[in-house]
Each structure stands twice: as structure tokens, then as C-alpha cells.
Subunit: 462 residues, 2 copies
């Protein structure tokens, strides 16, 4: 057992308990009712950075939830790692599908986590993964092994599209100056197949409202004679995909990066078992764009998914009503070169244009962000790869993710540095779903791997 | 002023207050939370029938809400009128669209009701219209003018499809024996254009559930690679109409009654102003089946409307989730000769068949009923027509309604008698919608007209 392993072994119960305390605060950024819980969480993160050894920690005010900033500068001539993470979480509903309360963390074993996993909203996304960095710093500071400078920027609005982080980054370029950005907010293939995310999809998230008659109507007296906004919204949404599941918005694919045959062949080498995938989701068949594999569909291809829909009577029993309004939340995952603002505009124009007379349509853009690709020949990627080789005994596989961290491309643009996505979660950890969890193995392995990244990055930077 | 008008004038404040007391009880049959309110309402209706002069009144137990039965038999050789009505009401949501609380009745003036209208859930559908019959009986009994026998059957499950009334009717054929059935649960064209409903549409109401993956998924990691049940349900529902807004369910139109050119020409004579119709609903255009007028679309043609849809994240802000399940409530209005059980089966078979692999579909039939047409040469219709001529000074127009009272065709089948639909509401009274109301003119005119029906029906029966 090496020094870091011994340190983890000695302190791991405390590492669990400290994370549990964070997980108990329901820091749901999508719902303004939790405003004070977000502040409470920010203060807890601030305190944890101070305890871990940061010299200067502050809550930076924004128009929304505060950003926790902390730093430990040991030598201006040494490189600087900027750690980004977020302390806000997704909403926990539907609550009745949780086996244990979302904000009462508990350790339970699962098939993929025989050592146990921490169950609770935010355990993986992103409180657990963010806190690995705090504990890695603690180890490096307490054992005098911090080889370079470190800055932390932990925000509280990632799950709602980071509306205030961009302004903060633009206004604090000197403060945030760094040589590499380190983020743990993604996943890896399996506990015995480490991987590093090299690509992220962009995102455009909109809410649409379709209005028919000016009031709810009796479906007997008016049924068949006026446009029913629910029937209409289903027609409009259905028309956004053709029979090959291509998206029909004019111009949508114009800037989509087309991968070469070779690149696609390389991707296909990643381990993937379709039968297990279907079994895990209890589906008879996968579904998606004709001409692409499952792994391509959720990584290198753009998508359009309805994330929520509602209208009319949804209570118990029956009500024969024609609703005045119907609504849907729709998100599009974008690939490199697709501009989210342009896509949002194309969507809005198209969705409005396909509305029949007799309804009015309103499209409200929520938020979005650009996609991102990181090169595997950078010093940052190489340092991460070497760190994983030490702790997992295997070279990690570079992998494109279907998810989005909209802020990553902004970091590159504003701070001129590359981001390394060292994610330790598994796809099956149910982030954004009921029963979100994070493996104990993964949590501790992250804490063990991160200090090695610092070591190799500092060495390679010389 | 004749005797009935004088009686109404003298007692109208009491007539309002008594109705208000009924309207204050939230007897929502679709929601089991209101179970005790339904019982309370049934008891209030029982008491009102006793006070009005019924000899024998009882609450008849069912597997659901009780049926209030009352009768006054004056001579077994005279004809018997059976009055049917219901004391349950539609749910009141969306509550925020009500200008005054739904269960705190209040009189306010409107453009179409310059004398004022009673606002409150159930004011028109059907507590107000049912109570006209109670007060008409009171007049006839107190003034010794009841010319025949009368029976009342007031149920508490009409808004959920009368699941227990059919059994009650089947088991009580002798008790319910009658010569004509009288119902006020429909509307008329305008306060100066009286009409009598001669046709009702049938109904099939179903709830559909589409299940994709076995849990909610992150739309970034899985988006584009698995069937999203919300996207799928929109596609499935959209495909139920073709571009001419014909319903695509195989066999759906097989038994639809096709009206002759002459009948359609007769229908077209009913007063209808398309511009006013659109203006009242604030819509730019009407919408419906190609080849039919608005009045035809909502009366002689079958329809398919989504009454409610839900799935995924519908809260504030954004959540990037692929829901495990999506739901919709769908109702089909049917025309004479379409059998609702057969249509429900055709729907179920078709909807299940169009589901792509990768989702599971469950169709749950809610309730339904057959359509109905009443002949205008019957004694009952003639008696009603004469009554309206006396009180409105005009011959009422026979009119097909788009609404459904599923129980009416069962009455004919089981009790072998015709139903006369003397409805006094207006289409604009917002039944099933926020701000439901019932004109004071209409309420009192109903009380005035009903005794004349009894008079003419008894005379014509001799």
C-alpha cells in the first residue's frame, strides 16, 4: 500500500461522512424554493476547501447562486490547475421511484458496486465527484506533496445551464488564469475499463407552449371542430423526426462534424454489449437514427428529445376537456461545430412555422452550450492517462460522451486552456434519475488518481 | 303574469339560495378524496325531494356513490315521467383560471346573461339543471297541479361514466317503469333561440401508457439511442389522424351513420356565425375533418381528442431527462350505430399495433356509452315543443349535440322508453371549464317550462 492508499484507508470513514453532510442539503437549482439550501451548500463547500488547505476561499456573488472560489498558490513559476465542479443538483422527482429518500444518503451494494455505493441525489453528479478533488487536495497539502498551484471554481447553477458562470469567467480572467482545467463530471466505461472523456455534446433546451381556444372547452361540444392544442403539439413534435429518425428542422445538420470511416471504426472498438445494454434498461430493442450504432447515436450524432410534456386533465379518473394550452420541454444534444444559439433559432423558426392556423405557438429558449472535443496529444491528457495507468493498471480509453457540460467550450474560449474530463461515474449510476448513486470504489479511486495527475502534469510541463 | 311565473317571482331568492347550498359541496366524482362530499350532496338532494313533495325518497346504495331515488305516484292509471339528473361535478382544475372560487357560488352579469348568471362548478352541469326539476315539482305539488306520476333518479357518477347506474337500472326495471324520461343536462342555442337536443354522441374514453426504459435516464448519455416514450407517444397519437383529419384506426368509420344531402342541408339552416364563434374562442381558424362544416364536425361526425397528456419533467426550469413513461387520456366521441365497446377494442388493437419495438404500451379503457337519436314525432318531443312555445313564444329547433350522456341509450334498451333532452344551458356557460355558470334567466325559465311539459305530455298521452 502506497502513501495515498494508506491515507485514504485511514480517513475514508470521514471522507464518507463529510460527503454525506453535503448530500443531505437539497441544493436543487431548477426550483427557486431551494434558494437557501444552495447558499447553505456553497458555505459548506467553502468551509471544506479551507479545511483542505486552500489559502484563500470566497463566495463570489452572482445574479444567481454564488460561485465558491478557492486557491492555493505555492509558486508563481509552477503550473496552475483549475478545478471546476458544481454543488447544485437535479430535481429529485419522481420521488416515489426512490428506494431511499434522495437527501438521506445511504450506502448499499449493487451488482456493479459489490463494495457498496453511496445512494442520494448528487452523489455522483456532481457533489461526490467534486469532493474527490477537495480530498485529493487535503492529501497533497497535509503530506506536503502539492507539486503545483491549484484553483477551485465550484458553481451552483450547472444543472440549469450556468447562466451566471460565463459572466464570472469573462470578468475574472486573471484570477482564473491556469494551465489546465480539471473536471470530474462525466463517467467511465466500467470499474475495470477506465476511460477519459474527450468529447461532449452541446445543448439547446427550449420550452414550447401551444395555445388553442382561450379557455378549456367541453370535448363533446367542441371536439372535432376546433384545434385541440394537445393533438396539435403531438403532431408538431412527431414531425420533428422523419421515418429514419433524422431531425427535420431545416439546416439542423448543416454544420454537423462527419467522422471518417477510420474514426468510426476506432470508436467501434470500445467494449459494448448490446444485449446487456437492452437488458439493463428492460427494452426489447434500441431505437434511433438509421445508419448509426448505439454508441454513435449517443455521442457523435445530434438528437432531439422531449424531456417533459403536459396539458389538459392529468388527475385521477376522466375529464372530457379540450385544454386551452399544451406544453413541452425539448432538448437538443449537439455535436462539435453546431452552434447552440443558431440551432435554437432554427428550432424556433421551424416550430413556429409548422403550427396550423387555429393555434398560437410560443418558444422560450431555456439555456444551452457548445459541444467540445479535447485532443489526446495534449500534456493534460497525457498526464491523466499516466495517472490512470498507475491506479487502474490499464491505459484509459479516450471516449466521446453524449452528455453536455456547456461551460467547457467557454473555458477554452475565455481562459485559453484545455479541459481534461476525469470522470469516475458509471453510466448505470442513474444520475438525473431516481436512486442516483456513486460507487465507493469510484469515489476512493478518484481521490487516489487525482494527486497523480498533478504530479505528472507538473512533470510534463517542465 | 301567470300562476307559475308568480310563484317563481315570489320564491326565486329561496330557489337561488337552495341551489347555492348544493353548489358549495365539492362533489367531484373523478377524485376519491371527495367521497364524503358526494354522500353529503346525495343527502341534500334527498332532503330537497322530500321537501318538494315526493312521497318516498331513498338513497340507493351502489358500489360507488349512492343514487337518490324519489317518487310521487298520484294515480297508477296516469302516465309516469322519470327525471334523470346527476349531483356529481367535474374536477375544478385548473383552479387559477377561476375568477371566483369554484365552490363559492356567486351571481355576476355577463354579455350573454345581462340579468346575471350563477358562477360555480356544477351550476349548469348538472346541479342547476337538475334542481329546476325539483323546484318545478314543488310548484306542481304545492299548487295541486301535478297532472301525472313522477319519479326522480339522481346519480353521483355521471362525470365518470356512470359505472354503477347501468346495474341499478337493470335491477330495478319495475321501480323505474315510466312513459318518458326527462333530462336537463344539455344546452340550447341561445336565450332567444330555444332548441331541444335530439341526438347525442357516444363516447369511448381510454388512458394510454407508453413505457420505454425501466427508469428515467440522462438525456445526454442515452439521448438518441433509446426510444424516448414521450417522443414515441407524440408520434403514435399524431398518427391517429391523417392530413384530412380523418381518424386512421382501421374500421373506425365502418358503422358511422352517413346523413343525406337533405339532412345536412336542414342542419345548415341552424343559426351559426363562424366569425363570432372564432372570436369567442380567440382563434384565427377552426380546424377539423375535411369536407364537413363546424356544426357537422361537432355533432354528426366522430372525433378523437386528447384530454390530457403528461410525462417527464414538468416543473420549473429544465431537467435533461428521458422519462421512463408517458401517458395520455384520449376520448372518442361516437355517432349513432358506432358501438363504444367495439370502438374501444379497435382503438386498443390499433394503438398497441403501432408501437415501435423498444416501448411497451398499455391501454386502459375508462368508460364509454352509445350515441342516441330521439325522433321528433314522439309524444314526448311534441309535449316539450309545446311547452317551449308557451314560455319562449317560439318553436324550439331540434338539434344534434356533440356531447354524450352515455346512459341515455341504456335507458331506452332497459326501460323501453324515449328520453327528452330539455337542456337550458348555453354552449358559452363553460361547463367542464373554469368559470362555469348558468344564467338566472335559464334557471328560472327551466322551472317555468317543465310543468308545461308535464301538462302537455299527460294530455297527449290520453
Amino acid at each position: 500500500m502506497n502513501q495515498i492508499q494508506s491515507y485514504i484507508n485511514e480517513h475514508k470513514d470521514r471522507f464518507f461522512n463529510e460527503l454525506f453532510d453535503l448530500l443531505k442539503i437539497p441544493s436543487i437549482s431548477a426550483d427557486t424554493a431551494y434558494k437557501s439550501d444552495l447558499l447553505k451548500t456553497a458555505e459548506a463547500v467553502k468551509l471544506s476547501l479551507e479545511k483542505a488547505g486552500c489559502d484563500k476561499v470566497e463566495l463570489c456573488k452572482t445574479d444567481g447562486n454564488p460561485i465558491v472560489y478557492g486557491e492555493k498558490i505555492i509558486d508563481k513559476n509552477l503550473p496552475t490547475v483549475l478545478v471546476y465542479g458544481h454543488y447544485d443538483v437535479q430535481p429529485a422527482d419522481p420521488l416515489d421511484l426512490w428506494d431511499s429518500p434522495p437527501f438521506e444518503p445511504i450506502i448499499k451494494k449493487t451488482d456493479l458496486h459489490p463494495d457498496g455505493a453511496i445512494f442520494g441525489r448528487g452523489s455522483c453528479d456532481d457533489k461526490g465527484q467534486m469532493y474527490m478533488h477537495v480530498k485529493a487536495l487535503e492529501f497533497m497539502v497535509k503530506t506536503n506533496q502539492l507539486p503545483c498551484n491549484v484553483k477551485f471554481m465550484i458553481e451552483g447553477e450547472e444543472e440549469v445551464g450556468s447562466p451566471n458562470l460565463a459572466i464570472f469567467v469573462k470578468n475574472n480572467q486573471e484570477k482564473l488564469k491556469n494551465d489546465v482545467i480539471l473536471i470530474s463530471d462525466t463517467g467511465m466505461i466500467a470499474n475495470d475499463i477506465p476511460s477519459i472523456t474527450t468529447g461532449l455534446r452541446g445543448l439547446s433546451y427550449v420550452e414550447v407552449e401551444v395555445t388553442g381556444p382561450n379557455r378549456d372547452l367541453h370535448s363533446g361540444l367542441y371536439g372535432g371542430a376546433v384545434a385541440n392544442p394537445i393533438n396539435i403539439i403531438t403532431k408538431m413534435i412527431a414531425s420533428l423526426h422523419d421515418e429514419d429518425n433524422h431531425i427535420t428542422i431545416p439546416g439542423f445538420y448543416d454544420k454537423v462534424e462527419e467522422l471518417s470511416k477510420e474514426e468510426r471504426a476506432d470508436m467501434a472498438k470500445a467494449p459494448f454489449n448490446l444485449e446487456n445494454y437492452k437488458k439493463a434498461l428492460d427494452i426489447e430493442a434500441v431505437y434511433g437514427e438509421t445508419g448509426y450504432t448505439t454508441n454513435e447515436r449517443n455521442s457523435i450524432r445530434p438528437t432531439l428529445d422531449v424531456n417533459g410534456i403536459w396539458g389538459g386533465y392529468t388527475g385521477e379518473g376522466a375529464k372530457t376537456v379540450i385544454a386551452s394550452k399544451a406544453y413541452a420541454k425539448i432538448s437538443m444534444r449537439l455535436v462539435p461545430h453546431q452552434d447552440w444559439l443558431e440551432i435554437t433559432e432554427l428550432f424556433t423558426k421551424h416550430f413556429t412555422s409548422i403550427a396550423p392556423k387555429g393555434v398560437k405557438v410560443n418558444v422560450k429558449p431555456h439555456h444551452g452550450g457548445q459541444g467540445y472535443v479535447t485532443p489526446i496529444d495534449s500534456i493534460g491528457y497525457q498526464a491523466a492517462s499516466k495517472a490512470y495507468q498507475d491506479t487502474f493498471g490499464k491505459t484509459p480509453i479516450p471516449q466521446r460522451s453524449g452528455g453536455s457540460i456547456p461551460i467547457v467550450s467557454l473555458f477554452e474560449q475565455e481562459l485559453k486552456s484545455k479541459t481534461i474530463l476525469m470522470g469516475f461515474g458509471l453510466d448505470s449510476d442513474a444520475i438525473h434519475s431516481p436512486n442516483e448513486h456513486f460507487g465507493i470504489f469510484n469515489y476512493l479511486k478518484g481521490i487516489e488518481t487525482i494527486p497523480l495527475f498533478y504530479k505528472y502534469f507538473t512533470a510534463l510541463s517542465k
